[in-house]
């Protein structure tokens, strides 16, 4: 007998339907039995006592436990399966880092504790900064930015300060088409006009176009290398030269550092400024498990403008430079509460020290090898837009779907039924119907083989014209295809009780 399409409960086997917590239980039910509040308590609130029910859900402890466990089971993360989201470096987060960051000597510190009582923590920040400087080959690093995009903004603010300090305020920032999407936004947020630089037929910056656009009002170029086509910008030395000849600064988006860590030092390429995503290359948790962390490495010319605070070596140990004038330079001020994402520094340092220089070098090699393994396995079924090997991520376009009626989006939805988180789709914009896959070095050959087989099967099914299958996907998920348009046009951002008409 075939499995039933629907069940009486709405559950699908052990995959349970779970309503919102507000739609469960009944008012007054509680997991704890507290004594009634003393009548006198109300008198002390100066007339500000609560006037009515605040609508907290009423659930017992086992109901509450099940609610959150069931929600957690609906989550799909790097610990559940393959997550080849391009340009996101969804690699395994080693448990050792989690354990070390939870040591009470690190996790229980208060950020305002006297510096003499947190020398170990300051040393940890300083050591993490040291190794990041070694890996980038750059003399200074700002540890505090909360994530990559804030790192970009801090880097650009340092560039703007350096230009203004030499009386040479400039107006434009050049951003190649193959750069990360946050780059133009950061430049704009920093007050610059953004100008795009076209890619050539090899998916890399067109040097002629770049040279034409460089001029005395260009403050910086923001390059991502390897770029979002998964390709190394082979002209990077010439790009650096041309940018410096024009008196501009060279910002490199380090989000794809995983492809080159331990093998290439960005400072040697002539880069003046580069952020690192600790939550990508340095394996600290990503997405909902974050927070992110985006230290920015700076060249000598930008170092005086580094924001506060930072750790310095004093006569009696480590000290925090927290005020202008305390450590020289012309610091930008603070960009983040306290010292940045300290817990991530602990994890990233544990990662670097456990990997060692040989291990980090192998990270880059294996990340590139895995991406090329996907390319080799899929190039005859899918359509790679550019010639040659890729770096740590592999890009396909939708030419292999031409004439089938299946779109990149449909294809991605069908991958969910196969048990994979889809790759990045429709980005980068330089190719049509983009599919950008980044396997990272932490995936096994078995996982990659299963993925390749599934995608080859899907591509074959698309070619055979089974459009309805793709348009109906996903079928095996808790919810089918969601109405993204309605969600974007009329987002429902909070729950309201039935009949509640209040508008915020």
């Amino acid at each position: 007998m075939a499995a039933p399409e629907t069940t009486f409960t709405g559950n699908r086997g052990l995959q349970l339907e779970e309503p919102l917590i507000f739609d469960q239980g009944r008012p007054g039910r509680s997991g704890v039995d507290l004594p009634a509040a003393a009548a006198a308590a109300g008198d002390r609130l100066g007339g500000l006592e609560r006037q009515g029910a605040i609508g907290l859900p009423g659930l017992s402890e086992p109901q509450t436990v099940r609610h959150y466990l069931r929600l957690g089971q609906k989550n799909y993360g790097i610990d559940s399966g393959f997550f080849p989201l391009g340009s996101c470096t969804m690699k395994h987060n080693p448990r050792q880092g989690e354990k070390l960051a939870r040591l009470s000597g690190l996790a229980s510190l208060h950020p305002l504790q006297p510096q003499s009582t947190v020398q170990g923590a300051l040393e940890l920040i300083d050591s993490c900064a040291h190794w990041l400087k070694v890996l980038t080959g750059m003399p200074a690093i700002v540890m505090s930015p909360a994530a990559g995009a804030q790192g970009e903004l801090v880097g650009l603010m340092a560039i703007r300060s350096a230009l203004e300090a030499r009386g040479d305020a400039r107006r434009r920032v050049l951003v190649p088409e193959s750069a990360h999407g946050t780059n133009p936004a950061s430049a704009r947020a920093c007050g610059y006009a953004v100008e795009s630089v076209a890619a050539n037929g090899r998916g890399r910056i067109d040097m002629d176009v770049l040279k034409e656009k460089l001029g005395s009002d260009v403050a910086a170029i923001m390059l991502t290398n390897p770029n979002t086509c998964g390709l190394f910008e082979t002209d990077i030395i010439d790009i650096a030269q041309a940018v410096h000849d024009a008196g501009a600064f060279f910002y490199c988006d380090g989000a794809n550092f995983n492809a080159i860590v331990g093998r290439v030092r960005p400072g040697d390429l002539g880069i003046d400024c580069m952020h690192l995503n600790l939550h990508k290359t340095f394996s600290t948790p990503h997405g909902g498990g974050g927070p992110g962390s985006g230290p920015v490495a700076l060249a000598e010319s930008l170092a005086p403008f580094a924001p506060l605070p930072y750790v310095a070596h004093g006569a009696d140990g480590f000290l925090l430079v927290e005020h202008e004038g305390q450590g020289g330079g012309k610091p930008l001020g603070r960009v983040k509460g306290f010292h940045g994402q300290f817990g991530m520094f602990a994890r990233a340092l544990a990662y670097m020290m456990s990997m060692g220089s040989d291990g980090l070098r192998q990270v880059a090699e294996d990340a590139v090898l895995n991406a090329n393994y996907l390319l080799a396995g899929l190039k005859d079924s899918l359509s790679p837009p550019f010639e040659g090997p890729c770096m740590h991520e592999v890009l396909f376009d939708d030419r292999f779907l031409a004439g089938t009626g299946v779109t990149t989006l449909d294809f991605a939805k069908a991958m969910i039924d196969e048990g994979f988180h889809p790759m990045t789709i429709y980005f980068p914009l330089v190719v049509h119907g983009a599919m950008l896959m980044e396997p990272t070095e932490t995936e096994s050959k078995e996982t990659l083989d299963q993925f390749i087989d599934a995608l080859k099967g899907l591509a074959e099914r698309a070619r055979k014209g089974d459009v309805a299958y793709f348009q109906g996907a996903p079928r095996l998920t808790p919810r089918r295809r969601l109405d993204e348009t309605l969600a974007a046009r009329q987002p429902v951002l909070r729950w309201r009780p039935a009949g509640d008409k209040t508008v915020e």
Partner: protein, 124 residues
Amino acid sequence: MPKVKYSQKHEWISVEDGVGTIGITDYAQGQLGDVVFVELPEVGQRLDKGAEAAVIESVKAASEVYAPASGQVTEVNESLADDPAQVNADALGEGWFFKIALADPADLDDLMDAHAYAEYVKGL
């Protein structure tokens, strides 16, 4: 019949009495997918040919709409704020973006006519 011309960036401009109505082509709306937000220029704003004039956001991507000719904005299609779906439903009609008083009719000379645009799209 007003004269309609098309740009390589997939805008159309329909000119009548020196005023050009501008929108995006049916091909462009099809490529973008469902439009969820449109940001229009200010009335009175001066636009140079090729300058960024409006922003369009779909479920797939955010893109710019460029002025296919220079001129001053005389009117914008405010109904797109509440109902951006008009761009998908009727890109060449109700889904228009803004109107400009043309600064120089010669700006239209290098734009394509309907036939040339159809050929151009075929080559993409």
